[in-house]
C-alpha cells in the first residue's frame, strides 16, 4: 500500500470522521482516499476552497466532538499557519498531515524535503508548543497517524504528521492491526470553568451542542473563556500553560528507536533519511555506530541524547539545511554534524558510510 493511503487508513482506524482538505501535490492521495472511504463510515469529507478554509473547517468540526484532520504540503501548510495558532490558543484537537516537498514557495512539488520542521513548531505567531510525529515507513504512516489523534485529544493541541514525499508516495507492506489504541478526549465536567485546567494542565473539553454554553475565542481569555486581552497576568498564565502542558510531557510521550546505545558515533534521524541510516548500519561491520530514530520529533526530548552516554559525535542527516540539527546542538556539548541535503533525493547510504569513515 502507498504511504499516503496508509495515512488515510490509519486516520479512519483511529475514528477520524471529518476531513477538510484542498488538493496539493504530494499529499493529494490522502484526501482522495478519505473522499472514497469517509462517507462509508458515516463521516464527512469536504473539499474546501483553500487550505485556510480547510483547517478552519477541521477546527470547527472538532468542536462538535469529532476527530478531524486535514492533509497538505508546503504552500498549503504556510496558508494554515494563522488558524493553527487559533487551534493552539483555543486548545482544539486536530491532526494535520504535511507531506513535505521542496520549498520555499512552489519549489519542488513532486520531490521530497523536510524543510517544514521548524515551521510546524514555530510557524504561527506567538509562543506555543505542539506535537509532531515523523513516519519513516508506510507502516508508520498508518500507526503514527492513528497515534496523532490520541495525542491531539489528550493534550488538546494540533498534532502534525510530518511525512515527506518519499514516505508518502512509496508502496510497501502494511500490516493492518485488528484495532488501534484509542484515548478519548477528556470532557469538561458540568459546572467547571471551561478553560480552567487541573494538574495535567489540560482543561476538559466542552463539546458544542451539549449545553455548556461555552464562548471560544482566539483572543487571550480567562478561565471562563471570556476575552481578557489587556491583562498581562492572564496572558502570561495562559501562554505558559499552553506551552507547559506539552513541554512538561516531552519525556513521557517521547517515541524513538534506539540502536546500539554504547556507540561512539550516533546517527540521529527522522522520516525518510532514517532509511538511509538503517542501510548504513545494516551494511557496516563496525559495532560502534548507533542510531537514534525519532518518531516523535516535537517536543524534542533532550533526555534521549543521554541514552547514548558514550557518544562523541551525533550525525544528523536531514532533507533540509539542518533544522533539527540546530535543536539537537542546543541540548548537547558533544559534536553535532548536520548532513543537509536539498533537491529531493535521499541521502545515499554510501555517502553516509563515507562520512562515517571521515568522522571516526
Amino acid at each position: 500500500m502507498q504511504g499516503n493511503t496508509a495515512c488515510a487508513e490509519g486516520a479512519l482506524a483511529a475514528g477520524c470522521r471529518f476531513f477538510g482538505g484542498y488538493p496539493i501535490t504530494p499529499s493529494t492521495e490522502v484526501a482522495e482516499h478519505m473522499a472514497l472511504k469517509l462517507p462509508k463510515t458515516g463521516g464527512v469529507f469536504i473539499q474546501m476552497e483553500d487550505e485556510i478554509a480547510s483547517i478552519a473547517a477541521v477546527i470547527g468540526a472538532s468542536w462538535t466532538g469529532v476527530r478531524a484532520m486535514t492533509a497538505t504540503s508546503g504552500p498549503g501548510f504556510s496558508l494554515m499557519m494563522e488558524n493553527l495558532g487559533f487551534a493552539v490558543i483555543t486548545e482544539t484537537p486536530c491532526v494535520v498531515v504535511n507531506i513535505q516537498r521542496g520549498g520555499p514557495s512552489t519549489g519542488q512539488p513532486t520531490m521530497a524535503a523536510q524543510g517544514d520542521m521548524l515551521q510546524c513548531r514555530f510557524g504561527s505567531h506567538g509562543d506555543y508548543s505542539v506535537i509532531a510525529l515523523s513516519p519513516a515507513s508506510v507502516q508508520e504512516m498508518y500507526d503514527l497517524t492513528a497515534e496523532a489523534f490520541n495525542l491531539s485529544d489528550r493534550f488538546r493541541v494540533p498534532v502534525f504528521v510530518m511525512a515527506d514525499e518519499i514516505i508518502g508516495h512509496m508502496r510497501e507492506k502494511l500490516v493492518v492491526p485488528d484495532t488501534v489504541p484509542r484515548q478519548e478526549r477528556k470532557l469538561l465536567k458540568k459546572g467547571d470553568l471551561p478553560f480552567r485546567a487541573g494538574d495535567d494542565l489540560v482543561p476538559g473539553f466542552p463539546t458544542f451542542g451539549k449545553g455548556y454554553s461555552v464562548h471560544v475565542t482566539g483572543l487571550t481569555h480567562d478561565e471562563r473563556g471570556y476575552p481578557c486581552a489587556t491583562s498581562p497576568s492572564v496572558h502570561e498564565d495562559l501562554v505558559n500553560r499552553l506551552v507547559d502542558k506539552v513541554e512538561s510531557a516531552r519525556d513521557a510521550i517521547s517515541s524513538a528507536d534506539i540502536v546500539n546505545p554504547d556507540a561512539r558515533v550516533v546517527f540521529i534521524s527522522y522520516g525518510a533519511p532514517s532509511r538511509a541510516v538503517q542501510q548504513v548500519l545494516h551494511d557496516t561491520s563496525r559495532d560502534d555506530i548507533g542510531h537514534l530514530r525519532l518518531k516523535l520529533v516535537w517536543p524534542f526530548a533532550e533526555s534521549l541524547l543521554s541514552r547514548f552516554p558514550d557518544a562523541e559525535t551525533f550525525i544528523v542527516p536531514e532533507l533540509n539545511l539542518g533544522q533539527m540539527a540546530r535543536e539537537i546542538q542546543r541540548h548537547t556539548d558533544r559534536t553535532v554534524i548536520p548532513v543537509p541535503k536539498l533537491g529531493g533525493a535521499l541521502h545515499n547510504p554510501s555517502d553516509l558510510a563515507g562520512l562515517l569513515e571521515e568522522v571516526a
Binding site: M111, R275, H282
Partner: protein
C-alpha cells in the same frame, strides 16, 4: 538478497502499475519484502516515466534504487533517460518494437508492443507481456505470484486478456533463452 528493478517507458504504458504488480507479487504471494517508488511530476505524463521496485528477503531499508540489477525499458526516450547508465552486471529487458538502442549489458529483446497488438489485439497489455517476460527470464518472483498479483490489479473483465498477455511474455522469454 536485494534485487533492484527499474521500469521505464512513456506515460500511459502502465509503467507504474507494472512495478506495483511485481511488488505486490513479492510481498503478498512470495512472502518477501518490497518497496515500490516512482518519479512523480509533470514529466511523467507523456515524457519518460520511471518506476522502481526493490525486492528483498529481509526488510527493505533504503527505499530508493541506486544501481538497478534489472531494467525493463519500454520506450526509446526511457532508454535514453534511465537505461544508458547500466552497469555491466545488470540485465535489461527491452521492448524491441519501440526501443532501438541496445545497452552495454546483457539484454533480452521482447517485441511486446507488436505482440500485444498483433496476437492479443490490444496495445495496452504490452506492460503485462513485459512482466511475464521479466518473471520467466529472471525469476524475481514466482509465476504463481505474478499471476495472482496481476489478477488483483487489473480491471474486472480484463483478467483473461491479461493472463494471455502474461503467458505470451513467458513464451517470448523462453524462446530467447532457448533460441
Amino acid at each position: 538478497m536485494r534485487t533492484e528493478i527499474r521500469f521505464s517507458g512513456f506515460g500511459g504504458q502502465g509503467i507504474i502499475l507494472a512495478a506495483v504488480i511485481v511488488g505486490r507479487a513479492a510481498v503478498m504471494y512470495d512472502n518477501k519484502h518490497a518497496v515500490q517508488t516512482q518519479v512523480y511530476g509533470p514529466e511523467a505524463r507523456g515524457g519518460a516515466s520511471m518506476s522502481a521496485v526493490i525486492i528483498d528477503d529481509e526488510p527493505v531499508l533504503f527505499p530508493k534504487v541506486t544501481s538497478p540489477d534489472i531494467y525493463v525499458i519500454m520506450s526509446q526516450e526511457g532508454f535514453e533517460k534511465y537505461g544508458v547508465s547500466v552497469t555491466e552486471g545488470a540485465v535489461m529487458l527491452l521492448d524491441s518494437t519501440l526501443v532501438h538502442s541496445r545497452p552495454a549489458c546483457r539484454y533480452i529483446e521482447i517485441p511486446a508492443t507488436r505482440e500485444a497488438r498483433e496476437s492479443l489485439g490490444r496495445d495496452i497489455v504490452a506492460n503485462i507481456i513485459m512482466l511475464g517476460a521479466l518473471v520467466a527470464a529472471t525469476g524475481v518472483v514466482s509465476r504463481e505470484a505474478i499471476e495472482k498479483a496481476i489478477l488483483d490489479s487489473v480491471p474486472r473483465g480484463t483478467e483473461e486478456l491479461n493472463l494471455r498477455a502474461m503467458k505470451k511474455g513467458f513464451e517470448l522469454a523462453e524462446q530467447v533463452k532457448h533460441g
